[in-house]
């Protein structure tokens, strides 16, 4: 199915308002992404392209830059979220459970929600047997986390035309790739409906820092600008604001303070819920059924 066949266009103003519990205005959905970058291929992202733009294999500088996130950066995230009492959704390439066991274990012990994020970091279009990769990824996470993930995010949010069907067949209940709304929606698949949750490509350190090349301080400004608008709109209808981060980016010493400042800002407001994907999904399924 092409995307338009999975979900009809709908203007947000034409939908009934959804209500959060206890008059809350806004849900903040924090997603930490952990990835495995194979040294034998081109790197998923680069901070330093080679002189004259040659493709390098091995790409030591960019591989090392990503590796920093696993060795050093991610621990800043664990500290921050433990202090805040927030358990983010963990969008994790399943191979991380083997190659960075120590990190995956810390997330499990901290009670973070494991969400499927394919096997390793590459576009899903390049995977030979997508159904097998999905099964292998979810099985690996299920064994490691001791609970089967219900959510999925494609690497780089990539999907083929069949991906939603394959995910629904594999028992996935929500996906984050369809960044087209402030609310959850339902899309059609050949195996029944699938829920989309509003992940973000705006409040996301890859587009912001690696594509748009913003200064580190701008992360706080953009999150606050977004929050202020959505919090105001949240008086009328439930709003969900995702923040998507990667340890090799926002875990850098010059960026972590700007991430901390974002949550500090939120803490000054009433009616802000910090939920993971499962909590948002469960709320949505009951909220939309209310008369």
């Amino acid at each position: 199915m092409i995307p338009r066949e999975r979900c009809d266009y709908s203007a947000i103003i034409d939908r009934p308002s959804l209500k959060l519990p206890n008059g809350a205005r806004l849900v903040v959905w924090t997603i930490v992404n952990l990835e495995f970058w194979s040294i034998s291929r081109a790197m998923a992202r680069q901070v330093l392209p080679a002189p004259t733009g040659e493709v390098l294999v091995p790409d030591v500088p960019n591989w090392s830059w990503h590796e920093y996130g696993m060795r050093v950066g991610v621990w800043r995230f664990f500290d921050l979220f433990a202090r805040l009492g927030i358990r983010p959704t963990l969008s994790i390439n399943a191979r991380v459970c083997r190659e960075y066991r120590r990190v995956a274990r810390a997330a499990r012990e901290a009670g973070w929600e494991f969400m499927g994020h394919a096997w390793e970091q590459m576009p899903i279009h390049k995977v030979d047997d997508q159904a097998e990769m999905i099964a292998r990824s979810l099985d690996t996470l299920a064994r490691f986390a001791r609970t089967r993930p219900v959510g999925w995010l494609g690497p780089g949010l990539t999907e083929t035309y069949e991906t939603p069907d394959l995910l629904a067949a594999a028992g996935v209940k929500y996906i984050g790739d369809w960044v087209y709304d402030d609310e959850p929606t339902e899309i059609r698949t050949t195996y029944g409906p699938l829920i989309t949750l509003p992940y973000s490509v705006e409040l996301n350190d890859i587009p912001m820092m690696l594509v748009q090349h913003h200064e580190s301080a701008y992360f706080t400004q953009r999150c606050i600008d977004s929050f202020e608008r959505l919090y105001r709109e949240g008086a009328e209808r439930a709003k969900i604001m995702a923040i998507a981060i990667h340890p090799y980016i926002s875990g850098q010493p010059h960026r972590i303070k700007y991430l901390e400042a974002v949550y500090e800002h939120f803490s000054r407001y009433e009616g802000v819920l910090h939920w993971n994907g499962v909590e948002i999904l469960d709320w949505y399924l009951s909220a939309r059924a209310e008369p």
Binding site: A42, A44, Y180, H213, Q221
Partner: protein
């Protein structure tokens, strides 16, 4: 996709391109409606540069614009370079028909998708009954263009005070929209002491309609609105005034 916010890991341009399609779709589902709040607040009727195929596909948007008396101008039948369109005249015609069918009258103005004209575009536009085009961002005033038949007016659209250029290509912070609009305004206002000037502001719902950007659009309009001798006109209002000069 015509524009992207997120390239795939290690590059490429896969199809389908879900993240970039969805990012754009956000504008039609959510972003446009908060922009309407701003324009309604200031009682500004905008020009809607709309792909011909978008009118029925996003009927609530077309209806909201039409109900507010916005001016519809043609903007290609689909979003692609006019240089890649097989039959440009047919594309222009189908777009004009789609607009006429919905609003009750054909469009007077045209803006190419990405401003991508062919050698013939102005000629075709005159032959197809258009009164103005916007692709020639070469002045602060309307300009006459010759065609193989009669002339056509070009109105000063902008690639400077334009959120695609600013946010997607130059990667500026959202506040740059405000800063640049005010810098532009202040200069054109000074320039206009002896002779009128036109200033365009261009927005796309998936860009300035994002929650973290809207206020900078709103603040720019608020600041400009403080001047009593500034008019907020649609394209045809500018054209009809220019024709009397």
């Amino acid at each position: 996709m015509p524009r992207t916010v997120l390239t795939p890991p290690a590059g490429g341009a896969p199809m389908p391109d879900i993240p970039n399609w969805a990012w754009h779709e956000y504008g039609n589902r959510v972003g446009l409606w908060r922009m309407l709040d701003v324009l309604d607040h200031f009682q500004i009727r905008a020009v809607l540069a709309i792909n011909g195929s978008a009118i029925t596909r996003y009927e609530p948007i077309a209806r909201a614009a039409h109900d507010r008396g916005w001016e519809f101008i043609g903007h290609g039948f689909t979003q692609q370079s006019m240089q890649k369109v097989a039959d440009e005249r047919d594309d222009i015609r189908r777009t004009a028909s789609a607009i006429a069918a919905f609003t009750g009258r054909p469009p007077r103005g045209w803006l190419c998708p990405g401003l991508t004209e062919t050698w013939e575009t102005p000629d075709l536009l005159v032959e197809e009954g258009f009164d103005y085009v916007c692709d020639w961002v070469l002045d602060d005033r309307p300009v006459w263009l010759k065609t193989r038949t009669g002339p056509i007016v070009n109105l000063p659209y902008t690639q400077e005070c334009n959120d695609v250029a600013m946010m997607l290509i130059q990667h500026h912070k959202a506040s740059e929209y405000y800063d640049r609009a005010i810098d532009q305004f202040d200069q054109l206002y000074a320039d206009s002491a002896q002779s009128a000037r036109i200033m365009a502001l261009v927005v796309h719902p998936y860009i300035m309609g994002a929650p973290h950007r809207l206020r900078y659009f709103r603040d720019a309009l608020a600041r400009i609105r403080e001047h009593s001798n500034v008019l907020f006109w649609t394209g045809e209002e500018i054209l009809d005034w220019f024709l009397t000069q």
